[in-house]
Structure formats: C-alpha cells, structure tokens
C-alpha cells in the first residue's frame, strides 16, 4: 500500500483543535509540521474523484433504462437499434452490475474505511481533549475577526468580562475565565459530524453486506387461490441462509376504487401455509405488508387476469388485457366477427360486445352480472367468474436492522455538519490611559454570521461601558 507525507494542514491526528483551525494556528504562530504516514487510499482528492466518478456512473444508469429493472426491450424502445446495441455491449444498460461500477464501489468502500480510521476517527481524541488555550491581546489581534475596545476606566474591566461572559453563555457558548482572559466555545459537538457520518457509512456497508450474503428478494404474480412460493428468489452466490419451506396462499383479492373509478387501494388476503396448515392469515395492501419468519410480503400490483365463461355449460377461460381502467378479452367467432368481453376493475358485470369488420365500433349486446347467463342465438353464455392476479413482492433482509441504525447515524452526523464550531477570546490589558479590551474569534462555518455576532457584542459592550473602538473588524482575506 503506497504512502505519502502530509503536512500539518492535512494531518489527520492533529489533536489540538485550535491548531487545526488555520486562522487560530496563524494567531498562535509557526509550528513545526507534523509528518504522518497516510495511506494513499485515505487521500481526500481520491475521495472527491471517486464521488465524481460514482455520480457520473449513476447518472448514466439513471439516463439509460436498466435491463435488470425493465428488461432489454426497453433499451431498444428508448433508443435506435444502433445506439441500443452499443449501450448493451458497453454494459451501460446494466451499469449497476458492471465490472466498472463494482470496482468503483469496492474502491469507494476501501476509501471510506481507510479515511475513517486514518483521518476521521483519530480526530475524536481532539474532541475529548478540552484544554483550550487563553490568548493574549497580540494573538487575538491576529484572528480574522477581531476588535479592540478602549476603556478609560481600568476599574470596570472585571464588570466588562462578567457581562461578556453572561452574554456568551446566553448565546450558547461555554465560557472559561482565567484572570483577565476569557475563552468561550460553542457548537463543539458539530466537530463530531465527520466521525458520526463515517461510523454510519461503515455500518451501512456492514448492513448491505449482511443482506447481500444472507438475504433474498423476488416478485411473483399470483392468481386467486394459488400460492406464493420462493423457488425463483434472487440471492447472492454467497448466500448462506435458507429459503422458506412455507407458502402464502391468496385467499381473496380486491381493489378499492375512488368514486371516479381510479384505484385507491389493492388488497390481498394471504394465508401462510406450513406443513399443510394455515399458521397466519393477514390482509395486505400497498404500504401494509405481511411479515412471517423474517420474510416480508408486499402488495406490489393488482389486476384482473382471466375471465371464466361457459358456452352451453362448457367452461372456457380467456385472458384479460388491461385497457386503462378496464379489462377486455377478445374471442374471434369467424374471420369477420369477434366477441369482445369487457369488465371494469370491480369485475361484477361483464359487458358483451359484438364487432364485425364492416362496423366502425363494437356494439353492446348484453350486460351480464356475475353468475348469470344470456342467450346469444342458440348459445347460452354464462359469466362464471373473474380471476384477479395480485403482484406480490417478497424479501428477506437480515441486514436491515443494521442498515436502519446506519441510516439514523448518518442522519445525525450530517445534521451535526450544519452546526458551526465557534471560538471566542477576550483579553483585557491595562494601559496608562485605562484598559484595552481585545475581542476576537473564529468560526470555520458561517463566518459572516459569527462576525455579525461579534459586531453586536462589541456594540453592546461599547454602549454599556462607554467604550471606544480602536480598530474595526478586518475583512477575512
């Protein structure tokens, strides 16, 4: 593994927080650079390059229809034949399973692990070390945001420090005082952001690994009365779990509509059958899955699949085609005549149409409620039943608890990133004409907000103690 030398700025284990802030380091004066050996895989430019490459690859995957999700036909539908063939050959149409993407993922994972242990986590010791230095006036004057106030009365310096201390405490700072010097700090926990986020990322990697090694997923459209099994479950080659030996029978299935006829919800009543016995029954719907034996079964889609009719007591099953909010089956009677059977999503009434070649549109012949018959010439036609099909998605995800914990940790870490870590110093130095009050500080985030706060404190002190500003706050270079 290659290594390279880092200067003080890049040092990962710089435990002195105040020095890790360049502005504070400048105020404290020169310090001998600390040289530490850092793996090339912990390089920040590498991290950024990988993020950019990963983003570009995912963007490509979002742009091109993915075979694993929608099938190869969609690629040829979206592009002309030549382009589609090129995309398929180049692996763009299945980019999330390509060697390039897997290598990129592996490299990024390695980068996250090495960066976490070599750069991020060592900084935690800096967080625990809370011995902040007190600065003299000369050091405070070197800070990017600073001001010097002049007091003609040197006896009021204690009152000024006490007022400042109270103000900073009110603003959320933790204040320490040492004689005529004051040091305050706020948002220290914001520094935990990187460490917590990286712990979350490592946990996420662990959760995903557990799932991909031991879990399985699948989708199966199941007709009413039939059962879901796990024979076609997708799982990794390193799979070390076992497939369930039970099935889930679809006892009933229905669709609930809005008054306008649009789908509001789909429902399926499932029975878990184990060793020939129903051990659990539950009605599932979208957003309301069934959980049994660490397997979750989801209502994924719904439709009417087949219609059973009888002609003179001879049953025949016809496949239904989805036509927007309706379903239809087509039964050619001869070269010029066709019977069209139409159902709405409730499947309670069958509308029977006739269509001849010379007719512009099909003609409605009869409406048949379920279980009833009509006469079509010499033929007695009965609407026996309609068979709904319910699309069931299932998954076993043993890594999910770890993944969920990782999600929470990442969220906490990234929310902490918005918290600015601020330092504030004050030193009172007596002079022949009274006293000089040096105010200054740093904030690595929200610098302008900090400077506005410093301005307000300065104005408040000036007004309360009749102080004069000696120098104004300088612009940050």
């Amino acid at each position: 593994m290659g290594t390279f030398q880092l200067s003080q700025k890049d040092s990962p284990a710089d435990n002195d927080e105040t020095v890790s802030d360049p502005a504070v380091a400048e105020a404290k004066g020169p310090k001998k650079p600390a040289h530490r050996k850092i793996s090339i895989f912990a390089s920040v430019p590498l991290s950024i390059t990988l993020m950019v490459l990963m983003a570009a690859t995912i963007l490509l995957g979002a742009w091109c229809p993915q075979e694993s999700q929608v099938g190869q036909a969609k690629v040829f539908e979206a592009f002309d034949r030549q382009t589609a063939e090129l995309l398929v050959r180049a692996g763009v149409s299945d980019i999330f399973h390509s060697t390039w993407f897997l290598a990129l993922t592996a490299l990024m994972s390695l980068n996250i692990v090495v960066v976490s242990f070599q750069r991020v986590f060592p900084k935690l010791s800096g967080y625990l070390k809370r011995d902040m230095p007190f600065f003299a006036g000369r050091e405070i004057s070197k800070l990017p945001a600073h001001a010097t106030l002049v007091s003609a009365d040197s006896t009021q310096t204690a009152a000024i420090l006490a007022t400042l201390s109270a103000t900073l405490t009110r603003l959320g700072y933790k204040v320490k005082m040492d004689g005529d010097r004051l040091m305050a700090e706020s948002g220290r926990y914001g520094r935990l952001s990187a460490s917590i986020t990286h712990v979350g990322l490592l946990s996420l990697m662990a959760g995903i690994s557990i799932t991909s090694w031991t879990g399985f997923t699948g989708f199966q459209p199941v007709l009413l009365g039939q059962a879901l099994n796990f024979d076609d479950a997708k799982h990794a080659s390193l799979w070390i779990g076992k497939k369930p030996d039970w099935t889930a029978k679809v006892e009933s299935s229905r669709r609930e509509n809005y008054p306008t006829g649009e789908a509001k919800q789909w429902y399926s009543n499932l029975s878990v059958i184990k060793n020939g016995k129903a051990v659990k029954t539950q009605e599932i719907s979208v957003n309301n899955p069934l959980s049994y034996d660490n397997v979750d079964i989801y209502q994924s889609s719904w439709g009417l699949d087949q219609v059973v009719i009888s002609f003179n007591d001879k049953e025949r099953t016809l496949s239904l085609q989805s036509m927007g909010q309706k379903y239809a089956a087509f039964l050619p009677l001869d070269a010029d005549t066709m019977l069209v059977l139409s159902l709405n999503s409730e499947g309670k009434e069958l509308r029977v149409f006739g269509k001849r070649r010379e007719w512009e549109a099909p003609k409605l012949l009869q409406v048949v409620p379920v279980g009833q018959s009509i006469s079509l010439g010499d033929v007695q036609m009965k609407f026996v039943k309609v068979l709904p099909i319910t699309g069931l998605q299932y998954k076993c995800d043993p890594g999910l608890p770890v993944t969920y914990v990782a999600f929470i940790i990442i969220m906490v870490g990234i929310f902490l990133a918005a918290v600015p870590h601020r330092h504030f110093w004050c030193a009172v130095e007596k002079s022949d004409n009274g006293a000089l009050i040096y105010l200054g500080g740093t904030s690595r985030k929200a610098k302008v907000g900090f400077e506005r706060g410093l301005d307000k404190i300065k104005e408040s002190l000036s007004k309360q103690f009749n102080l004069v500003t000696q120098t104004k706050i300088e612009d940050t270079p």
């Binding site: 995912i58 979002a62 742009w63 969220m411």
Partner: protein, 345 residues
C-alpha cells in the same frame, strides 16, 4: 381549486414579481436603496404568507397532505425559496440575492401556472401514495432543492461581486439553456427527448467547464468597487450555509424515501432513476463539502461548484420527468396516463 386558493396563489405569484422589480430598482439609486429593500422584503413576506395559507387551504380541500403532484410540489418549492431567502436575508442582511430568489420563485409560479388543468385540479391519490410517509419523505426533499438553488444563486452573486463576469455569464447561460430544455420537454412534444437531454447535459457540462477555465479573468473595475469584496465574501458564506442546511434535508429525504420504499415495495434501494438522481445530487454536495472543508477551495471556484449543484438539482427535480427518464416516481408526469398498476411515488 377554490377561488380562495387561486387568489392566494396568485397573490404569492404577483408578490414575487413585484418584489423582484423593487429589488432591481433598489440598485439604481443609493438614495432610496434601504427603503426599497425593506419594501421588497415586506412584499415578499406577504407573498410567502399568502402561499403558506394557499397550501394549507389546498390540503383542507383535498383532505390530504397537499404534496402529491408536480403542481403542488412547485408551490412548495416556491414557498421554500421565498421562505429560505427571507430567513437568509434576516440572518445575513443580504439583499442582492433577493432579486434572484424572487425571479426563481416567479419562474416556478409561471411554470406551475402553465401546467395543464389536470395538475391544478385536486385528484385522488394512487395506492402507493396513500401513506403517512409522503409527508415525511417529500417536503424535506423539496426544501433541500430550494436551499441548493439559493446556494447556486449565491454562487452567481459571488462571481459578480468578485468581478468574474465571464464566468458569471457562462454560468447564467448554462442555467438558461438547461432550464429551456426542461421547459421544452414539459410543454411540447415536437422535440426529440434525446435532443433535449443532450441540450441539458451539454449546457451542464460545457458551461461550468468553461466557467472554470475563465475564472482567472477578473474585471478589476467591478471587483475593486467599494464593498464588493465584503459582499462576495458574504454570498460565499450564504451559499455554504444553504448547502449546510440543504444536505441534511436531502439526506433525510433520501433515507426516509428508502424507509418508505422498503415499507411499500420491500426494497429500500432499487436504482430507480429518481433515486439514482437524488444520490447523484447527494454525492455532488458531499464533494462540495469535502472541497470546501478539506481542500479549502477559493470562493469563486466553490461558486462554480454550487452552480453545477444547482444544475444537478434541476435535473433531479424537474429534468427527471420532462427529459424522459422512466422509473417508479412517475407522479410528476402528466403527458400520459399511468396504467392502473403503475406504482407511483
């Protein structure tokens, strides 16, 4: 849509346009600048309140959380842009961002207004959207997009104030071309979708690349004007703060989306185009944060990075539907009727 809702929404749209002009006029004379800025802020605040009430009224009328289609999400976006600017304006005392924020809000109002009536009408929810997760997952995403827009707009202000006028015009051109591609993709069927995708991506790649290349060319007359350095610094800080707020919200939105997807579909991640685009945006802002904190890139460079982020946000939010990306998140589409079994989130 009731008359009350329409009146309130129109009030918000008009206030964004009026506020935009008052902000622009405020630059013409230092005599009444302060007063004009105050007026512009008040007008914008009135619009913000009107829009807040309009959104609540729509929710009451629809008897559901009012964030279920493209039109409603545009209202939320405009609300977040207006509210975000008012907050930033109060915290930082910035005003130059004001006219850009108002212009953005006005453009989104106009975009929403041009959508077909079916989008304005309150329609029932498809099964996949009937969940409490909708109000947990979607609003943070929309607000994060607005924050990223404000960061990108702050980047434009920074380029202007620091005298990088060539970079500024290139970035503005890139945004206009990308926005036009989205507009054409949304409202017209006569353009080839691949041509529009090429237009968007071309502008997004070539624009920022050129802007980086000419970043060294500074108009000293502009840059050296009194107060410009300070304003540039403030806009840079504002941009970073907006990203600092937007990134946690985007993270929250992506993660809650994963939780919802797992709850509804059995998989928290399925490389759906919308999910993928959200991840691309997240990665780009993660790179922004790393560039900012670890590499301490200069403010003008960070400004161009923020503009790249804005373009990616635009692609994730609107480009996804208007430029012909497919996937499960098809609620924003309105040109074709989704089949009954299409999952939509």
């Amino acid at each position: 849509m009731t008359d009350l809702q329409m009146t309130l929404t129109n009030t918000a749209g008009l206030s964004s346009v009026m506020s935009l002009w008052v902000f622009v006029v405020s630059n013409m004379s230092s005599k009444f600048k302060e007063r004009a800025i105050k007026v512009a802020n008040i007008v914008l605040a009135i619009g913000f309140v009107a829009l807040s009430v309009a959104i609540v009224a729509r929710g009451i009328e629809a008897e559901r959380f009012p964030l279920a289609n493209l039109y409603e999400s545009l209202l939320w976006f405009a609300w977040a842009i207006m509210g975000g600017f008012l907050f930033v304006s109060r915290a930082y005392g910035v005003y130059q961002l004001g006219w850009l924020a108002c212009l953005t809000a006005a453009v989104f109002f106009f975009y929403g207004n041009c959508l077909p009536q079916s989008q304005h009408d309150i329609a029932p929810l498809v099964p996949a959207l009937v969940s409490y997760w909708r109000w947990v997952h979607v609003p943070p995403l929309i607000v994060s997009y607005a924050m990223f827009f404000l960061a990108g707009l702050s980047g434009l202000i920074n380029l202007w104030q620091s005298g990088r006028l060539k970079s500024l015009w290139i970035c503005i051109s890139a945004i206009v071309v990308a926005g036009s591609a989205i507009g054409m993709g949304t409202f017209s069927d006569q353009y080839d979708v691949h041509l529009l995708q090429a237009l968007f991506m071309g502008a997004s790649l070539i624009g920022p690349a050129l802007a980086f290349m000419v970043l060294g060319q500074i108009n000293n007359k502009v840059a050296d004007a009194p107060g410009r350095a300070r304003t540039a610094e403030i806009s840079d800080d504002v941009g970073f703060r907006c990203v600092s707020v937007g990134l946690p919200l985007l993270t929250f939105g992506i993660i809650t989306g994963g939780l919802w997807a797992n709850h509804a579909w059995g998989s928290y991640w399925s490389w759906d185009p919308k999910e993928s685009m959200a991840l691309v945006t997240w990665l780009s802002y993660a790179a922004y944060i790393h560039l900012r904190i670890q590499r301490e890139l200069s403010a003008p460079k960070m400004s161009v990075v923020a503009v790249i982020g804005l373009l990616l946000t635009l692609l994730t939010y609107l480009g996804f539907n208007s430029l012909g990306f497919g996937g499960l998140h098809s609620y924003g589409k309105f040109k074709e009727t989704a089949p009954a079994q299409t999952q939509a989130k």
